[in-house]
């Protein structure tokens, strides 16, 4: 109750703070975003930034949205954290105190999240933080963490996809898998998640972790290859996948791959040398573009909006899932809650709804996103079969 009242008070203050008079006919709902947009770790943050930008722009060009009979437009405020917790903390404080923002997207990076977590927790109830950082998973549902929503699905758990993929792999007759991952936050967690799953499935697992930024994988590939595993389970961003897949196939050390992140592109690029390329994709854009008009429209919109001819299929999922859809989902929740500033109400709506945009997204009881995904299996020559999965 107290929470709500204080939230309401702040809301009142915020409205008072907003410029009065005819100059601004529409009220503004600000959407903050704290992501790394530059530096070696910026890939995720950069795409997320683009996703929000597109959604906000579209909604505003469509004349904004109406909540409880009032017209609103969106405003995106997205400083660059440079993957630096200090910057992020200051920026979050600016967003909450100066800009009176109540909805913040990001961060994707665990070190950044750890940096802002204490302050965010102090302000529990005043805002919503919707990010993808690995470390968020552990905080979900903890006391004073009602502000937290994780916009990514988790590999483990009953609605997670890890188990399902490993089972699929087992059906392919895999006996031994070699895991080659970045030595960073998610890499470390991925090892912790998948080791037991593989163990349970009776598949032997070898693990090697490499410094992010590595480009030549000859040594680890040779080392792993010596163990004669049937599948290679490489890192999780295309930044490394292109290099790993190429070097692994060129030397003929591996012809079978198993991915839980990243895209099909590295596989297609080396399709002649690949027997199996099994990938979990939040969405198989290449195919969806043909089938689903929404996706086709999104791809077109992206190209137009960023004036580019090449659509980044590999990173589109970040862009769309984590941000583009979630902006729409948030707006939808505001409409249903009939308020733009009672975060508790809005969260309740978010938790109870299923949003069908480019994907079907809902939140589980802890506040972690669950969405349909595709298990894509590419065979030699680039023949692709995709299975659409709707998790429990």
């Amino acid at each position: 109750m107290g929470m709500r009242r204080s939230a309401a008070l702040i809301a009142a203050a915020a409205l008072a703070a907003l410029p009065a008079g005819g100059a601004v006919a529409q009220e503004v709902v600000k959407i903050g975003q704290i992501e790394a947009q530059t530096g070696p770790l910026a890939t995720y943050g950069w795409m997320g930034y683009q996703g929000v930008k597109m959604a906000v722009d579209e909604i505003n060009r469509a004349g904004g949205f109406t909540v409880a009979g009032k017209k609103y437009r969106l405003e995106q405020i997205s400083p660059d954290t440079r993957a630096n917790p200090q910057e992020a903390l200051i920026q979050l404080k600016q967003l909450l105190e100066n800009d009176k923002v109540r909805f913040v997207f990001g961060p994707f990076l665990t070190n950044v999240f750890n940096g802002i977590e204490p302050y965010a927790t102090q302000n529990n109830g005043k805002f919503l933080l919707m990010g993808g950082a690995t470390a968020m998973h552990g905080m979900l549902g903890k006391p004073n963490h009602d502000y937290l929503l994780r916009t990514w699905n988790w590999d483990a758990g009953q609605s997670g996809f890890g188990q399902l993929l490993v089972d699929y792999l087992k059906k392919q007759g895999a006996k031994k898998v070699a895991m080659l991952f970045q030595n960073d936050a998610f890499g470390k967690v991925a090892v912790d998640i998948y080791s037991p799953i593989f163990k349970q499935a009776g598949i032997e697992l070898q693990v090697e972790l490499f410094e992010p930024g590595t480009k030549d994988f000859s040594a680890p590939l040779a080392k792993l290859g010596a163990g004669k595993p049937d599948y290679l389970f490489p890192g999780y961003t295309d930044a490394v996948l292109y290099d790993i897949v190429r070097q692994a196939t060129e030397t003929g050390l591996f012809s079978r791959f198993f991915l839980v992140r990243g895209s099909l592109a590295p596989g297609l690029k080396n399709k002649e040398a690949i027997d199996d390329y099994i990938a979990y994709l939040p969405k198989y854009f290449e195919e969806a573009e043909k089938k689903e008009p929404k996706v086709k429209a999104f791809v077109a919109a992206y190209k137009a909006f960023f004036k580019t001819s090449d659509f980044p299929y590999d990173q589109a999922p970040l862009c769309s899932s984590s941000c583009y859809d979630h902006v729409y989902m948030l707006v939808e929740a505001m409409k249903r809650a009939g308020t733009v500033d009672d975060v508790a109400k809005i969260k309740k709506e978010l938790m109870s709804m299923t949003y069908s945009g480019l994907w079907n997204i809902r939140y589980d009881s802890t506040g972690e996103a669950v969405f349909d995904f595709d298990v894509v299996h590419m065979k030699k020559g680039g023949v692709v079969t995709a299975t659409h999965v709707q998790p429990k």
Partner: protein, 286 residues
């Protein structure tokens, strides 16, 4: 196992020559202008993106693209020298900071132009060679050969041409060289441009082997500096060997030891060498 080691010796050597070509630039620049040009990393990055853009977007034949990339980067290097480095000659710290500033600026520009989405050039020369039970990608071997030739030619140029000898003399003893009638300013500019051209060349070849990101140079320039010091500043063959030693240490090191510490293996070696032969493996008395 022997196969494994042999393979890593070869691959380490190949990777090492790529360190070496940048190290050569670092070494020359430091020897002649007294600046450690960390910006060689971003020049390498520019070369890589230029080559990628010329081949994959403008569909120029790869060799032409490489030539174009080298020309572009050399020009960039000349501008950087005239606008910036000219004023920090023989000032280690300022040179270092100017290059840091340059890195920030150029990486930002690259991000604007190409975003952080990785780019990968179409495979120029697919396929592999089989030799004594080893499997080596054709392109890697080709790059290896080309780099070796480039470094050999540099060696020749420095020993046979007047400019080269002047440079050598200058590195040994500036005063004497000036008495010899060496035009310092022109020499230093020449070396600056040449070293950036080498970096661009390295980058252009790099693009045919690995995927590209705006930050790719930073790792390589660090390795290059390690290699240059390992070998001893001012030694051409040294820069190459230094690079190769580094590449091999990392390769073989990560076979026997945890891969996660790969970067440390080279460093430990470097520190050891510096302590017991401060002038580097091939450096004379300094």
């Amino acid at each position: 196992m022997a196969q494994l080691i042999l393979g890593q010796l070869l691959n380490g050597a190949i990777v090492g020559t790529l360190y070496g070509i940048i190290a050569l630039g670092v070494s020359l620049t430091f020897g002649i202008t007294g600046i450690v040009n960390f910006a060689l990393g971003v020049f390498m990055m520019l070369g890589a993106y230029a080559a990628w853009y010329l081949t994959d977007t403008l569909h120029a034949p790869y060799p032409l693209a490489v030539a174009g990339a080298v020309a572009l980067v050399a020009a960039a290097g000349w501008i950087a020298d005239q606008l910036l480095f000219r004023f920090t000659r023989n000032d280690l710290v300022n040179g270092l900071l100017v290059s840091i500033g340059l890195i920030a600026a150029l990486e930002g520009t690259a991000l604007l132009a190409w975003t952080s989405t990785p780019k990968e050039m179409h495979h120029i020369l697919p396929g592999v060679f089989f030799a004594l039970g080893l499997v080596v990608p054709k392109m890697k071997l080709t790059v290896f050969a080309i780099l070796l030739v480039a470094i050999a030619l540099t060696q020749l140029a420095l020993t046979r041409t007047w400019m080269g000898r002047a440079a050598y003399a200058y590195a040994q003893n500036a005063e004497a060289a000036q008495l010899m009638g060496v035009h310092t300013g022109r020499l230093q500019t020449g070396v600056m441009v040449y070293s950036t051209a080498l970096a661009g060349f390295g980058g252009a070849l790099y693009a045919s082997l690995y995927s590209l990101e705006p930050t790719l140079g930073s790792l390589y320039v660090l390795k290059a500096v390690e290699a240059a010091i390992l070998a001893g500043i001012g030694s051409i063959a040294g820069a190459l060997v230094g690079g190769i030693i580094l590449g091999v240490t990392e390769g073989v090191g990560s076979i026997y030891l945890p891969l996660a510490f790969r970067d440390a293996y080279g460093l430990i070696f470097l520190v050891a060498v510096l302590l017991f032969k401060p002038s580097g493996l091939f450096g004379g008395r300094r």
